[in-house]
Amino acid sequence: MSVETGTDPVTDSTEVNDETATAASAKGDTAPGTARAPDAGPAPSSVTMTKALNHALRDSLADDDTVLVFGEDVGRLGGVFRVTEGLRAEFGSNRVWDSPLAESGIIGTAIGMAMNGMRPVVEMQFDAYAYPAFEQIVSHVAKMRNRTKGRVSLPITIRIPYAGDIGGVEHHSDSSEAYWTSTPGLTVITPSNPADAYSLLRESIASDDPVVFMEPKSRYWMKETLSLPVSTAPMNRAQVIREGTDATLLAYGPTVRTALDSAEAGAEHGLSIEVIDLRTLSPFDDETVSESVRKTSRAAIIHEAAQFGGYGAEVAARLTERNFPYLSAPILRVAGFDVPYPSPKLEEFYLPTVERVLDALESWDWEL
């Protein structure tokens, strides 16, 4: 079913990703809340996001016998993105195994396992391939706890590689976050860097709430120098990763890089731009974000998903409702166009770029 274009085209863009990754890592070293290595941890080394995720799964499997990892090709192959590489060999096929190719089946059986005391961590191979599981996720994963007055919790982690910029053919680049964030009962998390990928995945697996854990594919090969295990800011909290005074850029997953680059470019034009990595999309960290927006009085949110009815619409609305007297300008959305995700040769025209972000900033009346 899955066209595994994810792997090869991505190799082509690895150089680019490495470059940006290094830049991110360099910035990350001075950003507040950067990964803290434990006192007696191993020596820091260069770690990709896939490696960090793999490490998190390994540590969770080792720490808790009820953690199970299953899905399409996650066993022998180690997943099409190799996030589960080596886990079957290490923990055995009773803990890590290949399931039949059916996403509703994967989520539906994970529900039953969770009802029977397990903590399943399941993979939807690509964003758009999670859609067959939509009913199980929305009607049961999200609602079981409420339906049973808290008597049945479903500590399931649903890993979804998402978003584009990897040269993927159709159905391999969707940003599906708004489907999940508009569903009460789900916690939705998306890391933008290897340290958060490790720390947030560990927390997600340990959480008694079901988590949709969205992994930005274009950041999978991003490298960061760190020691694992690592503990970053807690889940459910956003993080200011670059301080500024003139405007706030909100980003998550794949667009955090875009936001940081835009802030850098803005600085060349004399703008002091604050960047917030949302990290958790649901719940939304009103406190951290509102504090920043009140300080800067201007904000824009960047995402790859189409703009209309997207996650940015909710963010712009609630920030406006809560902070209107502090705002000097409308909160803007810098997003993908309202068209289906394009083919590889056209995606660069679709994705929000630094230029599109800067154009948005320029559209504000800076005299106010």
Partner: protein, 368 residues
């Protein structure tokens, strides 16, 4: 030279439904695939429970017409499948029912008010699944078949001596989740019994427009699991088939599909109008296959049942009906604040804010 594949190991169910006690109350000469008729003591217990369940269904349907419940899908006519299958469960097994399986929940020991809480509109599930080893009744079709499979998979991984039983209908047999559950259960060899109650209608759609297969039990062969077709109105056949399938599952021999041929005597729910899609003659025709009449006749022949026992059971049924009336005539206490209490294990600030909005509305309206 031909492709080298196994050419044995596939078997189809016998065409004639397995039946011990015919509609005339006499033993049949139908082949029973090695199953044996339950003891008179067991059958007497099943008789008693079927009478109770029929009175329960009639009473609840009546109360629904009076407006005491929002809606009610009755399983009248299907008592043998409901009671026969559920009674075969061991305490440690789990039941995964649908909205039409209140009779099964009653048989499982769930209190009347807790079964009916959902249909009265008090809360989506009124009982504690862990207390009765019964999952909330699934309303979305066929989704629970996967939960039963996953639960059984966890039981298998943990080495628990437990099996799962799920009900589904002829309509649900067309759903994709049914296919996925059959497949996952068979590939994983989970201790799961699928009891397919073929009651001839999915709301108004007759079986012949649901499937072109000779029988639904044939599907089992396509998944590499045993399939049986039983006279679903012969409680002896249902009980024996399900008990054997549960034992198979607990013994590590995987899942079983059991198609129970039966008939929905009532409308789909109280808001349905069956005169639009089936005629009275058809309903009359099925009355001659009534599950309770035939068992009573049989047990009177064997001497296991006499007038006094029949009268005692009828009295117990009236006592149950009275308790149903009492339970449904009491107004259930619902607390609007509970809307927020069970959605997440981890409290959310934004939800607390919304609760304050409701509290203010309640205070303004004079609620305590």
């Amino acid at each position: 030279m031909t492709i080298d594949v196994p050419t044995t190991g596939r078997s189809l169910p016998q065409l004639q439904p397995i039946s011990f006690i015919g509609a005339d109350g006499r033993l049949t000469d139908t082949p029973t695939e090695g199953l044996r008729i339950p003891s008179d003591a067991t059958l007497t217990g099943l008789y008693r429970q079927m009478v109770l369940v029929r009175r329960f269904e009639a009473q609840v349907t009546h109360l629904t017409r009076q407006g005491r419940l929002a809606t009610y899908p009755s399983a009248a006519g299907q008592e043998a499948a409901e009671v026969g299958a559920t009674t075969a469960l061991a305490p440690n097994d789990w039941l995964f029912p649908t909205y039409r399986d209140s009779a099964a929940l009653l048989t499982r020991g769930v209190p009347v008010a807790e079964i009916l809480a959902a249909f009265r509109g008090d809360w989506h599930c009124g009982f504690d699944p862990h207390e009765y080893h019964a999952s909330p009744a699934a309303t979305p079709l066929a989704t629970q078949t996967l939960h039963a499979t996953g639960f059984a998979m966890a039981a298998k991984l943990k080495g628990e001596d437990a099996a799962t039983l799920t009900f589904l209908g002829d309509g649900a047999s067309s759903e994709g989740d049914t296919h996925e559950a059959f497949n996952f259960a068979s590939v994983w060899q989970t201790p799961t019994v699928f009891v397919l109650q073929n009651n001839q209608y999915a709301i108004s759609t007759p079986l012949r427009e649901q499937t072109n297969a000779t029988m639904l039990a044939d599907r089992a062969a396509g998944y590499g699991m045993p399939g049986l077709r039983v006279d679903g109105n012969d409680v002896a056949a249902v009980f024996a088939a399900v008990a054997a399938a549960l034992a198979r599952g607990r013994n590590g021999d995987g899942p079983t599909l059991i198609e129970c041929l039966t008939y929905r005597m009532e409308s789909h729910t109280n808001s349905d109008d069956p005169t639009k899609y089936r005629d009275a003659e058809e309903v009359e025709h099925w009355k001659q296959f009534d599950p309770i009449d035939r068992l009573e006749r049989y047990l009177r022949q064997t001497g296991a049942l006499d007038d006094s026992t029949v009268a005692e059971v009828a009295e117990a049924a009236e006592t149950l009906a009275a308790s149903v009336r009492d339970a449904m005539n009491q107004e259930a206490e619902v607390d609007p604040r509970e809307l927020f209490a069970h959605v997440y294990a981890t409290p959310r600030a934004a939800l607390a804010e919304e609760q304050q909005v409701l509290e203010a509305e309640l205070a303004a309206a004079g609620h305590a």
